[in-house]
């Protein structure tokens, strides 16, 4: 499934999100929130990478997930972010399920990818019902 070329646009979306987050941060020094954004983008990229075998993906995802768990907790416990009204912080807390991907997925008992796809508005039904065509 992950080798499917249909998922290539999703990878682009993930990278674009990460790049946008990086630009929005704008600061020379990356804090836990910026690191979280980067790790999350890398994890999504790993989940969607068609060139990886399932075993390779499983290994990489496990490592990324553990790192992401720590980063998500660091961000949630970071008091310096309280009330810091910057675009990065605002966007991060606008959608808990998307920012704190691992925690939200574990809370809902779904996989990280399922959680992310759901937040991106891509369900199995919508994908299965999709038709190739020209606009």
């Amino acid at each position: 499934m992950f080798r499917s070329p249909n998922l290539y646009p999703l990878r682009c979306v993930a990278f674009a999100a990460a790049a946008f987050a990086g630009l929005a941060a704008g600061a020379a020094q990356a804090g836990p929130l910026e690191n979280l954004e980067r790790e999350r983008a890398l994890l999504i990229d790993t989940l969607l990478a068609p060139e990886l075998s399932p075993a390779e993906r499983q290994g990489k995802v496990e490592i990324g997930r553990r790192r992401l768990v720590d980063l998500e907790r660091m961000v949630l416990r970071d008091n310096s972010l309280t009330g810091r009204n910057t675009p990065t912080v605002r966007r991060a807390f606008d959608n808990y399920d998307l920012t704190f991907l691992v925690h939200a997925a574990a809370e809902k008992n779904v996989t990280i990818l399922d959680n992310w796809l759901e937040q991106a508005g891509l369900t199995t039904q919508s994908l299965m019902g999709a038709k190739r065509g020209r606009r």
Partner: protein, 302 residues
């Protein structure tokens, strides 16, 4: 001895009269105390409602201000004034006892001295009132500024910032509620040991909790309360402001007492002066006449 013998007995009563007159004049001068009080050094105390003061816990704020006042020129001057007043009150007590025991000219002299000391006592108390008023007005100003700053801090939050803080609070609550479930889930799906962050965070969190508990229970960190009700910082500062204003109101009342005291001293001085000025039935005019008549003989005898 020779010098004493040169003084006529009539002149010995003149001196207390003059002194009493001088005392009366001095007391009249007391009627314009504002002018007299502005003379001399003007000790200052200029505390600032700094950010540090705003951030201090309520009770520490008061202690910090008190300690700053104690170190200031004004605090030193007020302490000195209190000590002077205590000494003067002691002197007055001693003089009062001495007057009761004394007789004749000594008694008159002591009465005059008693009046002069009372006048000085009133001057000292008036000085202390000025210093106290300055202290209370300064406290009033600082507390007003602190309240203003606290209010400004609260209103500084824009709706967007408040919205963000609300979302952060919700996120943290959700995180705290799901933490155990997430940990179980992670343990079930992973054979790897806990990360260093997770391990050390748990240990540090326990240490922080123990320290926080100790701080909360520390007697020096007790939050101020009224009738067992804990006060917020604003409430406490408002209470301190009310105390400062109460101090000013009491000083106003004490000014009235001081005014009555001054009036009584003036009346006492006037009474003493009148008493001394009353003609003695066997006193000086007759003797003066006799003296003049006797002097005629210096001119008629050859």
């Amino acid at each position: 001895m020779p010098a004493k013998s040169l003084v006529h007995p009539a002149e010995s009563t003149l001196l207390p009269r003059l002194l009493a007159g001088a005392a009366l004049l001095a007391l009249l001068a007391l009627a314009v105390p504002a002018q007299a009080r502005t003379e001399g050094a003007d000790p200052s105390w200029q505390p600032q409602a700094s950010e540090r003061l705003v951030k201090l816990p309520a009770d520490h704020l008061r202690k910090s201000l008190d300690s700053d006042f104690a170190r200031s020129e004004l605090g030193e001057a007020l302490r000195q004034a209190e000590a002077d007043i205590a000494l003067k009150a002691q002197t007055l007590g001693d003089l009062q006892g001495a007057i009761e025991r004394a007789k004749g000219d000594v008694r008159t002299e002591l009465r005059h001295q008693f009046l002069a000391e009372k006048q000085q006592y009133i001057t000292l108390v008036a000085r202390r009132h000025d210093l106290g008023r300055k202290q209370f007005k300064t406290r009033e100003r600082v507390f007003e500024q602190l309240l203003e700053k606290l209010g400004r801090d609260e209103s500084r939050s824009s709706p967007a910032r408040l919205d963000l803080m609300e979302k952060q609070e919700l996120a943290r609550k959700r995180f705290a509620a799901s933490l155990g479930k997430v940990d179980l889930n992670l343990l079930a799906t992973s054979a790897a040991p806990e990360s260093r962050y997770a391990r050390e965070h748990t240990r540090n969190a326990a240490a922080i909790e123990a320290l926080s508990q100790a701080i909360r229970e520390h007697p020096a960190n007790r939050e101020p309360s009224v009738d067992g009700e804990a006060l917020t910082k604003q409430d406490y500062i408002r209470q301190l402001l009310a105390d400062a204003q109460a101090g000013l109101a009491l000083l106003d009342q004490e000014e009235s007492i001081l005014g009555y005291m001054a009036k009584l001293v003036a009346l006492d001085a006037s009474a003493l002066s009148d008493e001394l000025a009353e003609p003695d039935p066997a006193g000086s005019p007759a003797r003066e006449k006799a003296g003049l008549a006797a002097a005629v003989e210096f001119f008629t005898r050859r």
